[in-house]
């Protein structure tokens, strides 16, 4: 499943869904808002293109690694410190593929998917450099 949403995600539910009978490992990556002396973060997406690119990354990962499932959810909108930003859930028969796929997805996402973050502070905001 791939999703770009303003809603928070239910991590436990997504992990439960990844428990395929052939899976021996589920690796998750959860990106959250870090307090770099900010009050929050605004996240913006070019949604149509971002969905296409996430789909391509997912297909690449499914082709390169032995996986039973791969879910990617990225949030947009205004978030507070410690709020969830991104969840990647990789199910696989063995842990090495699950870890490798998870790392592949986050690395490619950061390079390719049209999403932007603005750090919000008391005196305004600053777009994070890509």
């Amino acid at each position: 499943m791939i999703e770009i949403t303003e809603e928070d995600f239910k991590i436990g539910e997504l992990i439960r869904k990844a428990k395929h009978p052939d899976a021996g490992a589920v690796v998750t990556f959860l990106g959250i808002v870090r307090d770099d002396e900010i009050v929050g973060m605004e996240i913006e997406a070019y949604t149509e293109l971002a969905m296409q690119e996430l789909g391509r990354i997912r297909d690449e990962a499914l082709g390169q690694f032995d996986l039973t499932s791969l879910d990617i959810i990225h949030r947009t909108g205004t978030l507070a410190v410690s709020d969830n930003i991104l969840l990647i859930v990789c199910g696989a028969p063995h842990r090495k593929d699950a870890f490798a796929a998870c790392e592949y997805v986050i690395d490619e996402l950061k390079e390719r998917v049209p999403l932007w973050k603005k750090e919000l502070s008391e005196d305004g905001g600053r777009w994070v450099d890509g």
Partner: protein, 91 residues
């Protein structure tokens, strides 16, 4: 002809999220950008001192980066969608 322009992040703040720009006759990406920047006094956001598009400015026509087309000389057709955004920074 009408070209739909979508801008993101700092470019959205400068140009607005989405707008239709009317261009006469045969027009290129360069013509569109000139038209787009004029009312916002935003020429320096897009172009460097030599008149080239700054390295960190991404411009897509119908989802394709202009680097894979004909750059700023890429010709536009009515109904095209042009997107302008800075380097991506998700995750």
């Amino acid at each position: 002809m009408i070209i739909k322009v979508k801008a993101f992040a700092r470019f959205r703040e400068a140009f607005g999220k989405e707008q239709d720009i009317e261009l006469d006759g045969t027009a290129t990406v360069m013509d569109l950008l000139t038209e787009l920047c004029a009312p916002h006094d935003a020429h320096d956001m897009i172009f460097d001192e030599s008149g080239m598009i700054k390295k960190y400015v991404n411009i897509l026509v119908n989802g394709r980066h202009i680097q894979s087309l004909s750059g700023i000389k890429t010709e536009l057709a009515g109904g095209d969608e042009v997107a302008i955004f800075p380097p991506v920074a998700g995750g």
